[in-house]
Amino acid sequence: MGEIRVRREQELLPAPVTGGENLMIHRTQMTHASIEEISSSLRLENSERSLLPAFLVELSSKTMQQVNGRAFSPRETSIFAMSIDDESPDAISALGIDDSDDCETIHLKPSEESPVAAVDVSSLKIGETETGVLAAIRGAVVWRSDQGYQYIRCGPLAFHLGQSSDEAASSIALGFGSSQFFTERAISRLRNTLERWIQREICSSLQNAVVLFDGSLTVGTPDNPSAHLARIMESARERGSVVLAFSKSTKLCAFGRRITSLVSGAQAPCVVDVDQAVRGQFESHPVRLAGHVYVAKLADNGFAFRLDADRQVPQQERIEAMNRLIASDVVMQGYPETLRLAHIFSTFTANDVIAVQRHLAFAHGLRIAPRFNLRKSLFGPFGTWGAA
């Protein structure tokens, strides 16, 4: 397989305005990889459909047929909203304070390049029917090849999540009863299902790659069973790949402050190993950390992120994976470009929401019913600002 030299990252980036070095951007080294290598390792040409599981497509169709011809109240989109995402924040709430201040700062050095792929999935409530909610999910995979970044976007798929027991049986058997959290949990489970599926496909396709997930490697909740993630990471390890997960927001605290503040004075690129500081707090917790927890600062003046790396991979290999990441990907503002693009491609814009609503009206004969607003009905123009 011939080696193909791809463009330097500098060629893809605008020149620094000041003429000096842009410290927000980590510039990677020359990439030595072939498109055949990446694409064949991804095995996506012949199996694109497999990134979107057939059972979810069928489930979408089945649940939507339940509401054919009914009325629905569409989600109102604001002209001020640039993008919409119902993604729930980090599942872990704030943790306690650890007395130890002994966290190791590890400086990263770009090493040899390797394939980098990122996965992200978004979900969104599209509207409401009399018997449930309409939701949509969409996933995206972005990876680097010698032709630049490439992506596959999966979805969106629309679902009707019925709240009555008989509808739930014919819709999605999630067993949540009729609790008020049904909607959020059902959507969350759908999103996790698609996300894990795509992650599994990617991890079982790539060789010697760095695979980036959005969020943390925290498992053990009913919607996020640990076995699924364990199998995905095992599949990655079998192929020499390492899973790294970036959290855009975290509530994890150590030494009395948020863990992301621990690297504020450190020289980038570096990570701070906070695993010991936070791990002990999970011993009696139902959820479990499947990843070794770091705080990463990958670019000077960039942001700090919680970074989880596959716990089953030795520390040296985890650090080496990070070295390969900063050698292979643009790290803008401290965040990997592949993961940023995956997020952009999966996130719903208000335009997407209207498009899905239009599809529902055409394909399923759903009629748009104006949303009843008790406050407006009672108070007219004096009751529209949400005052108590």
């Binding site: 979408s60 640039m82 993008s83 970044y149 969106p156 693009l341 952009i344 814009t349 209207i354 498009a355």
Partner: protein
């Protein structure tokens, strides 16, 4: 009123739509005056995402619901800015609209405006040109009869072409037309584009002051001469009274000639300053070459006979001085008014091109009030809309607006046209050459964009180009 239009729906500015309320069985007739992209939430982000990633990132969509096609539709969705022009109640058009259709129970469709804007079978049809859904849009000559019309637009857009069309069409129906032609554009109306003679030969006479348009003083008469002296030559009142006395004395002696008039002024026993004033005016009149003592060289009778016979007279004032134009126009209008008041003429359609170059200010109001009632129905043609007084615009019955891009010109027209200023500005600034916005009685107050039909006449007066192969004169 604003409407959403999806990409597969072809709608253009100026088109008419009908919003039919299914419950009340009424329809609102609206006109599209502007088309914009619908400002759908998030559209900018989508476009930015496309633009920012189209070169640096490639990929595929697994999109079983085909949502991307819906997104594409939304990106190209248009917002139609419309104005309410009337309504259809029980099949009858009306301009009285005091209701709004339901937003939910209404359907929108294209409306063939010609069915309400023109007679289905006019007794005196004038084929104006094509409109969007009808290549043969016809108006009734009656809608120009007794009316004040304005044709305006920037140069090269087809104003004179439309004026020729209107004049020739009126001529087809036996209406007399007097055309005041400052650029010599109407002198070859009897010639086809191929140069052959047309059926209008013999129906249109071209008269050129000093050459083929001359008058004896007796034909002119004292009243008309006084108009010329007072209004065209600014003779003071005192001097005018002396002139009238001299004129009457010569008439009594049956010696009213150009020569004897000059001698009588020179010999008059009036104050020196009065004599000088009269002498200078006389010299202007004598030098103009319009007046003759030879009755066989004078043709005012022929001019009036042709008008009375329902023919057209083109007064070619090309290359004539400002003073001669004023004298000629003053003389003609005064003479025609006199004949109309004596019922020797039924009416005359006057086409006045760039009238500010020869029409005195007091005539503007006179034309739209007194002369109109006598039977002079004027069509003003100008590329400088601010040269026509606002009071004239307000009294205009029909306005044919061609393209204007200059904001000041648009402001002038928008302020005075018979429709709202926003419509004028939005519709007129994008009109292609040869298209006009017809407003007023000719279209029953439903403003319509008309592609003026070609005429088979020899083109004159179009812009002369140095690079002939690239010439794109006004529509033929």
């Amino acid at each position: 009123m604003q409407l959403i239009s999806f990409p597969e729906e072809e709608v253009n500015k100026g088109d008419y739509l009908i919003v039919e309320d299914q419950r009340s069985h009424r329809g609102l007739i609206i006109q599209v005056i502007d088309i914009q992209f619908a400002n759908i939430p998030g559209i900018l982000e989508d476009i930015l995402r496309d633009v920012m990633t189209e070169e640096s990132i490639q990929g595929n969509d697994i999109d079983p619901l085909d949502i991307s096609s819906q997104v594409a539709v939304l990106k190209d969705t248009k917002l139609l800015l419309c104005k309410i022009r009337g309504a259809l109640e029980n099949g009858h058009p009306t301009h009285d609209v005091s209701w709004l259709p339901s937003r939910i129970n209404s359907s929108v469709s294209k409306f063939p405006i010609e069915i309400v804007a023109s007679e289905p079978s006019p007794s005196r049809p004038i084929l104006l040109g094509g409109i969007k859904q009808n290549p043969k849009f016809t108006i009734d000559a009656k809608t120009l009869d007794g009316r004040l019309n304005i044709v305006t637009g920037k140069k090269g857009t087809g104003k004179s072409h439309l004026s020729k069309l209107l004049a020739m069409s009126l001529l087809d129906h036996g209406a007399p037309c007097l055309i005041l032609d400052v650029n010599g554009e109407y002198t070859n109306l009897t010639r086809r584009a191929s140069g052959e003679s047309s059926p209008y030969e013999g129906k249109i006479a071209v008269l050129t002051p000093r050459l083929s348009l001359r008058f004896t003083l007796a034909e002119v008469g004292l009243g008309t001469m006084m108009d010329i002296l007072l209004h065209a030559l600014d003779l003071p009142g005192t001097s005018a009274r002396v002139f009238a006395r001299i004129w009457r004395q010569l008439e009594q002696k049956n010696e009213l000639t150009v020569k004897s008039l000059g001698e009588a002024i020179a010999d008059s026993d009036c104050h020196e300053s009065v004599r000088d004033a009269l002498q200078s005016r006389y010299n202007t009149l004598a030098d103009s070459g319009i007046f003759t003592d030879d009755p066989s060289a004078a043709n005012s009778r022929q001019l009036l006979e042709r008008l009375a016979a329902g023919e057209a007279v083109v007064v070619n004032m090309k290359n004539q001085s400002f003073m001669i134009r004023r004298i000629v126009v003053e003389l003609l209008l005064s003479k025609i008014t006199e004949l109309l008041s004596r019922n020797r003429l039924r009416a005359v359609f006057l086409f006045a091109e760039e009238a500010h170059l020869y029409l005195r200010e007091t005539y503007w109001d006179d034309i739209v009030t007194r002369m109109r009632h006598l039977g002079i129905f004027t069509t003003f043609i100008t590329n400088q809309p601010d040269t026509i007084q606002e009071s004239i615009y307000r009294q205009a019955d029909n306005i044919f607006l061609f393209n204007f891009t200059n904001e000041r010109d648009l402001d002038v027209v928008a302020r005075a046209a018979k429709i709202d200023g926003e419509s004028v500005k939005l519709l007129v600034k994008d009109l292609p050459a040869g298209h006009c916005l017809a407003i007023g009685d000719v279209v029953r107050d439903f403003p319509i964009v008309v592609n003026v039909r070609p005429l088979d006449v020899e083109a004159l007066g179009g812009t002369r180009y140095f690079f002939q192969e690239n010439s794109i004169a006004c529509p033929k």
